[in-house]
């Protein structure tokens, strides 16, 4: 795949993007230690800190969610690659406080391995850290064996409610409980219409032929349910929402939070058209589309398509979702 991107030396991509990122948001974030993205104004020590880690190349995720109401520290890795345990331990030590630290980990092998080693080290050092794992990708069949379910853009929901809970003064166990409740009540499905490439190597990481789509394809080209003919927005939205609602067993009368997350070259136009159909389908099922989020929140370079994330909300989760936040990539006012 020809690289049509504006970059400089491939090895410098991550450093340069982080440099530009903090220059763009000097009021909100800065770099500390070994390229850790931290808040410009740290929160109080008696509030739980929320930390996450993840490969780069998915901008604005995850560092875009550092700021009041969401994350305290993000540990960005190399392109599509988890950061190693040492930088994660550095972040956990930096975040360490009497109130404790919540680590949000997306279920991808590299992230999970790094988190495992880092958590063991943190515990050995006596840090008060707890971990929540997100694995809400329903393209892997079984909900009962979630080990294989990947963490997709739904992590944003977990970060948002956990961040709001921390800001409200919830204890570490309460933050963890909220994060886990959010995690258990969410489901994501992706659809890809065009592939993507690794910005440093140019290697194709996902391929979809013209006029085809792949429902369930993961963030790094992980196999989905297989290719099929590109369908209309309405037909695709219906197909995906039915799978999600079934997997999460959403009942009539329940409140849903729905995110339509563009993963790269999908246009906002398409995402809005999809949301419109989601609303119609929910109306027909008596499901209440309580909150929505439409935009690019976790991308995969120039990949075409989107992720549909749904979450069953209760009053507390809605309240935490609605709490203000002010980060580079999500501001609720």
């Amino acid at each position: 795949m020809p690289n049509r991107k504006f970059t400089n030396k491939p090895d410098d991509i991550v450093n340069e993007l982080l440099e530009g990122f903090v220059l763009a948001h000097p009021d909100k974030i800065r770099l500390a230690g070994s390229n850790l993205v931290v808040r410009a104004q740290p929160k109080a020590q008696d509030q739980v800190a929320v930390v996450t880690l993840g490969g780069s190349g998915h901008e604005p995720a995850l560092s875009g969610y550092v700021g009041p109401g969401m994350l305290d520290i993000s540990v960005p890795g190399d392109i599509f690659a988890a950061p190693g345990p040492p930088r994660l331990v550095e972040a956990l030590e930096m975040a360490d406080r009497p109130a404790g630290v919540l680590l949000v980990v997306l279920n991808h092998a590299g992230d999970v391995m790094s988190a495992k080693v880092a958590m063991q080290m943190a515990q050995a050092k006596g840090l008060n850290v707890k971990q929540v794992l997100t694995h809400e990708d329903i393209s892997v069949p079984s909900r009962r064996d979630p080990k294989d379910r990947r963490g997709l853009a739904g992590c944003l929901f977990v970060i948002k409610v956990a961040g709001a809970a921390a800001e409200k003064g919830y204890s570490l166990d309460e933050c963890l409980a909220v994060a886990e409740r959010m995690e258990k009540n969410m489901a994501t499905l992706a659809v890809a219409t065009a592939g993507a490439s690794h910005p440093a190597t140019g290697q194709v990481i996902a391929e979809v032929p013209d006029g085809r789509m792949n429902v369930g394809m993961g963030q790094h080209g992980e196999a989905g349910t297989g290719e099929q003919e590109l369908k209309t927005a309405d037909a695709t939205a219906r197909l995906m929402l039915e799978m999600l609602v079934k997997d999460l067993d959403v009942q009539s009368g329940e409140d849903l939070l729905v995110m339509i997350n563009g993963v790269g070259s999908a246009t906002l136009m398409e995402l809005y058209i999809v949301l419109r159909q989601v609303k119609r389908l929910c109306d027909a099922k008596g499901i209440n589309l309580a909150r929505t989020l439409v935009g690019e929140y976790l991308t995969v370079q120039e990949m075409g398509g989107f992720q549909m994330c749904i979450a069953r909300m209760d009053d507390e989760l809605l309240e935490l979702w609605d709490a203000p936040c002010c980060t580079p990539a999500l501001t609720l006012c």
Partner: protein, 215 residues
């Protein structure tokens, strides 16, 4: 050779790094087949970390040397490779403790600890087409040689041979871990890059000891 010391361990590490560098293109090629084509460059970076770790180690202590190397490799920030190979060296370091001479039995203990340390971060088993397919037979061969009271160099040679066979054997497997797993059955036909690296590391270990032993 009945036992090896601090300088031998350093030679083992450097020889492994050299072999990896010599083969990095092949490693990336193998990773292009089922993965994302970066295994060679990541391993080269990991070997850079290895040398940085060596430079930071307090002179003379084998465990500190291996821990520093393991910690540095953990920090390679390059996906799966860091935690896996970093854990390998950390495991060896923990097992050696404050000993400054390693006989074949201690060497077997160290590699068993390394295997456990890797198992701490991945559930991959033999047959899943990962570096575990090279690591496990190598450790088994080393233990068997230790049980027979073989020379350290002979034991390492046997381990290297077993690792090499294990890596070759991944050729016809379908990947069940790592990125190559996305390709399912289509990942068959080429050996696993991580297993190939692991075999090169064992081969390097043997070579590092041989340069000194002069055999």
């Amino acid at each position: 050779m009945n036992a090896i010391g601090y300088e031998d361990i350093k030679r083992m590490l450097l020889a492994a790094a050299e072999l990896i560098r010599a083969h990095h293109q092949r490693l990336s090629e193998l990773d292009s087949f089922g993965g994302d084509g970066d295994h060679g460059t990541t391993m080269v970076r990991a070997m850079g970390c290895l040398e940085k770790g060596m430079a930071q180690a307090a002179d003379g202590r084998i465990d500190d040397l291996l821990n520093q190397v393991g910690w540095a490799i953990l920090g390679v920030d390059g996906g799966a490779t860091g935690p896996l190979f970093g854990s390998l060296f950390m495991g060896m370091g923990q097992a050696v403790g404050d000993r400054d001479a390693v006989d074949v039995v201690l060497l077997a203990d160290m590699f068993e600890a390394a295997r456990e340390s890797v198992a701490n971060v991945t559930q991959a088993q033999v047959g899943d087409k990962t570096l575990v397919d090279a690591l496990v037979p190598a450790v088994t061969a080393l233990r068997a040689a230790a049980d027979k009271g073989e020379d350290v160099l002979v034991a390492l040679d046997e381990a290297a041979r077993a690792a090499q066979q294990g890596a070759e054997g991944t050729r016809d497997m379908a990947a069940r871990f790592g990125r190559a797993r996305n390709r399912g059955e289509a990942s068959k036909g080429q050996p696993d890059p991580g297993a190939t690296s692991m075999a090169l590391v064992f081969q390097g270990f043997a070579q590092g000891v041989r340069t000194h032993g002069g055999s």
